[in-house]
Amino acid sequence: MTDTLVEARGLTKRFDDLTAVDGIDFDIHQGEAFGFLGPNGAGKTSTMKMITTVSPITEGKLTVFGLDPTTQGRSIRQRIGVVPQEDNLDLELTVSENLYIYGRYHDMSRAEINPRITELLEFAQLSDRRDSTVEPLSGGMKRRLTIARALINDPDLIILDEPTTGLDPQARHLLWDRLYRLKRDGATLIITTHYMDEAEQLCDRLVVMDQGKIVAEGSPRELIEQYAPREVLELRFDDEQRDDAVIKMDGVAARSEVLADRVLLYTDDADDTQRALHDRGVHPEQVLVRRSTLEDVFLRLTGRRLID
């Protein structure tokens, strides 16, 4: 099937003796939004950099648009747009000049670029900052400009490494909306994110990476069904009662997790569990019932280690 845009088999990246990406396989199809989740250092950015052809692969096979990144990097890069994890805007240039020069790097003519700049500034809601230098822009504005810059060449594949980090909620929702529209117009998106709501909103399919390996793969729905019981009970206790309650609750749910401020019970039927708690004489101060989310899956798969 020719609609595979990116294909990786046994893809590996090593820095000296550190294996950042450890033999991963994935296919990204034309027109989908594909997510990479994973804790810090999982190897997401390393994978993105190999796809954007700026980082040579150590081992395995990778094709982008059916092309080989090692020998056909330039042809690949003509058709992608990249939002790096860390902004690398040119602080010496103004907002519009940043867009202009990237258009030139893509060999677009001035006549092609100028209307595009207007359009993209509109898109990024930066029209009124067009001639301002980049330095004094706020963090979120810089991020939006970086995203606009990635779109200057009307790319077929857009690679976004944590695109919404540092954005305020309005800007995030705006960006989701814009990304959704790009996808609707036929673009393919690759996204890494630490926001599970974002992944649920945007991604058709995603993989969870941990320590260089892919530990789960599927649509957000599938992953939740596969890795987390349907519902979660979040219980809060008085400090004195808590230890006692934890002992009493043992085995009451499929899985439980004791956090500093609350206890989480994962269960397929919250009502049943609540009744069982009552029977065992557990009386939490506060009970919250919610559906399982991708976040629960993520924590389950990658452990409750520190996520920055």
């Binding site: 595979t4 845009l5 034309q30 700026v54 648009f65 040119d90 893509h106």
Partner: protein, 269 residues
């Protein structure tokens, strides 16, 4: 859209092996606002020239120029200052400015996600540095003409000569910058250029030194630049100038090759 759809890139962009001119375009845009700073760099060698012309020259009198011909002290020093201005322009550009873009702004990492390649960056930046050097040296030679410090038509050749100086120092400067770790390392740039400026036969013929020190001074690339330009502006041609030119060319090529290899390794990890 099919996966092997032809890209939009067509015409010249596809044909040129290098897109170095895009780097020039970038720098041109960035410098439009900074032209005063760039232009002010032209004055330092001119101040030196005046100081030599009105002051020190009177103390020294005539000196023996290329081929032993006596020339006024100012006419002797002027081509050396011209070479030094080409060196300084190129070195400032490829060291301080590039370091900032390379280490702090990650500008090049971004550029490499477009069809640009590391070689485009290396060639473009060296070319731009050379241009800045030549800008200084060619405005400087106008001052020399006005002050009557060169009367030979051969002086025109000093401009291509300073292209070589700019190329050699721009390329080596860029190569050196890829090894720099912090701003403190830039002291080493001063530590290299300052003695070169003072001891490359700039202010007096090398024969005031004992033979052993003369030999050391002759390794200095600026010495070769100075001698080359001095021959042209004083209108005395000599086959050793070919050696000087060759020295600068080889130095530039080696510097460019190292810079290119290092940039590639740094930016495409």
């Amino acid at each position: 859209m099919s996966v092997s759809a032809p890209s939009r890139i067509s015409g010249i962009g596809r044909l040129t092996p290098f897109r170095a001119q895009r780097i020039w375009e970038h720098n041109y845009i960035a410098y439009r606002r900074l032209w005063k700073v760039v232009f002010s760099g032209f004055f330092e060698p001119v101040f030196y020239l005046f100081s030599v012309g009105v002051g020190i020259g009177a103390l020294v009198g005539d000196v023996s120029g290329p081929g032993g011909v006596p020339v006024s002290y100012a006419a002797f020093v002027a081509p050396a200052l011209m070479a030094a201005s080409a060196m300084n322009g190129a070195v400032i550009e490829t060291t301080f400015n590039i370091f900032f873009k390379l280490r702090f702004q990650n500008v090049y990492e971004g550029i490499l996600t477009t069809p640009m390649q590391p070689a485009d960056i290396a060639i473009g930046e060296i070319g731009w540095a050379l241009l800045r050097g030549v800008l200084y040296s060619s405005t400087f030679i106008i001052v020399m003409v006005v002050m009557g410090l060169t009367t030979s038509w051969l002086a025109i050749l000093a401009i291509p000569g300073s292209v070589l100086v700019g190329f050699a120092f721009g390329a080596v400067g860029l190569a050196a910058t890829t090894y720099m770790r912090s701003w403190q390392d830039f002291d080493l740039v001063t530590l290299a250029t300052m003695p070169m400026f003072l001891f490359s036969g700039t202010f007096y013929p090398l024969d005031v030194y004992p033979p052993a020190i003369q030999l050391v001074a002759k390794i200095s690339p600026l010495y070769h630049g100075t001698e080359l330009l001095r021959g042209f502006t004083l209108g005395v041609l000599d086959w050793t100038m070919l050696v000087h030119a060759l020295f600068l060319l080889v130095m530039g090529l080696i510097g460019a090759a190292i810079a290119n290899r290092r940039l590639d390794a740094m930016l495409r990890k």
